[in-house]
């Protein structure tokens, strides 16, 4: 089987072809490991759990963003495979992309439980409970493994790097839909913006490629509905732009932080 991989070494980009023996039951990740073991040890790609739980091996397989560990050769039904790094990301090397912006966008929507009285979380006197029906309203969006595949499929991220993207917006809705959370007003400043939910025009590509069935497009449309409802009732305007909240990756020529000192006090 012919495997075509988009390579990048920090300076130049090129396509490299490999001829590999493959069974239909092999995953794309198996093929990549075989290439690195037997053909080319310079090939770079991320992997960890090899079972679709960690979200490390996201890449573009035959033009469609997917997890390499969940894609079997037999499913592709093609004579050759074309592998590329995830679209809409900066490439570090070969199939490894820079997820800094992605993680910063995720952080900007405050993806954690917010209570109006923070002491409740520190010194809770009882468990915050949800009923199974309430749980069903957000648990689907809780399955996100942060693989970043949805952002590679999103046509809006392709033209607006500041757009929060389906992952961050989906996670924002996950907490907003949670009856235990009271942070809607804190998050709305970031979400109700031209780079927030309103930049999404429901192409649905994020839900189409999501390897865990999270359906972020649905979460975003529900989020729009919630924000519209809130604005109609409260008539408040957003004052903070997400562009100010999203931290940017340091420039390439920025001084590197000093290496971590591994010395242990009292040791040699």
């Amino acid at each position: 089987m012919k495997v075509r991989i988009r390579r990048f070494d920090g300076q130049k980009e090129w396509w490299q072809d490999y001829e590999i023996d493959a069974k239909p039951s092999d995953t794309v990740l198996d093929i990549l490991n075989r290439i690195r073991e037997k053909h080319d040890h310079t090939l770079a790609f991320r992997q960890s759990c090899q079972m679709g739980s960690c979200g490390s091996c996201g890449m573009v397989i035959n033009g469609l963003p997917a997890l390499a560990c969940q894609t079997r050769i037999g499913e592709l039904k093609t004579e050759s495979i074309r592998l590329e790094p995830l679209y809409n990301y900066k490439v570090i090397k070969d199939l490894v992309v820079d997820l800094t912006d992605f993680v910063n966008k995720h952080r900007s929507v405050k993806p954690w439980m917010i209570r109006k009285n923070p002491e409740e979380l520190e010194e809770a006197s009882m468990e915050f409970q949800v009923t199974p029906d309430q749980n069903l309203t957000f648990v689907q969006f809780d399955y996100c493994i942060m693989c970043g595949v949805c952002l590679a499929a999103c046509p809006t991220v392709a033209i607006d790097p500041l757009f929060l993207g389906p992952q961050a917006l989906g996670q924002a809705y996950r907490y907003i839909a949670d009856p235990r959370d009271e942070g809607f007003e804190e998050r709305i400043e970031v979400l109700d913006d031209s780079h927030g939910v309103w930049r999404c025009h429901f192409a649905g590509a994020c839900s189409y490629v999501c390897p865990k069935g999270v359906d972020p497009a649905k979460a975003i449309q529900y989020l729009k509905k919630e924000i519209l409802k809130y604005r109609l009732l409260h008539k408040k305007k957003a004052s903070v732009k997400p562009a100010e909240l999203v931290q940017k990756a340091p420039p390439a020529n920025a001084p590197k932080p000093p290496p971590f000192d591994f010395k242990i006090e009292g040791g040699e």
């Binding site: 920090g10 300076q11 035959n62 033009g63 469609l64 590329e84 790094p85 995830l86 679209y87 809409n88 990301y89 900066k90 490439v91 992309v97 069903l136 309203t137 957000f138 648990v139 689907q140 969006f141 399955y143 499929a153 046509p155 809006t156 991220v157 392709a158 033209i159 790097p161 839909a177 025009h201 429901f202 192409a203 649905g204 590509a205 839900s207 189409y208 490629v209 999501c210 390897p211 865990k212 069935g213 999270v214 359906d215 497009a217 649905k218 449309q221 529900y222 729009k224 509905k225 519209l228 420039p251 390439a252 020529n253």
Partner: protein, 156 residues
Amino acid sequence: MKMDREKEEKRYKSGLLRSLWPYNFNVERYTYTLHRITGVILILYLIAHVFEIYHLALGPAAWQQTMALLGSLGIWEKIGLWIIAGSALYHGANGLRLILNEAFGILLGKPVLPEYPYTPTSLSRNQKIAIYVIVLIVEALWIWAGIYLLWGLGII
């Protein structure tokens, strides 16, 4: 070795072409691309239309001149109007579907427990039916608009 900073910071395969290229993806992404293109056509038409109407303020002579210029385009004017009519029909009909989705949460399905093979409910059968109904209605009205325009030219 000096790093080429611009090249390093370039995002892989992003930009307008990547945004509008729906190949390999779902039907909804094709509707997205068409919605964007028809939106641009309508914006361009609105600008041209305002420019055309502006000649009314310059007096009857200027208006007659503009009308004569448009009339000299012949069949191309009608083809242009037909494309604008199709754009308005599609953009309006698909826009209504998007308003139903976004403002009212209709056609999205309820949140469910994800189960393999993870078919997203927001892209489910109902959504597809809505899209195909829109396409059928728009096609029918567009064909009618084409016949109407050609009839105006005396071709039919």
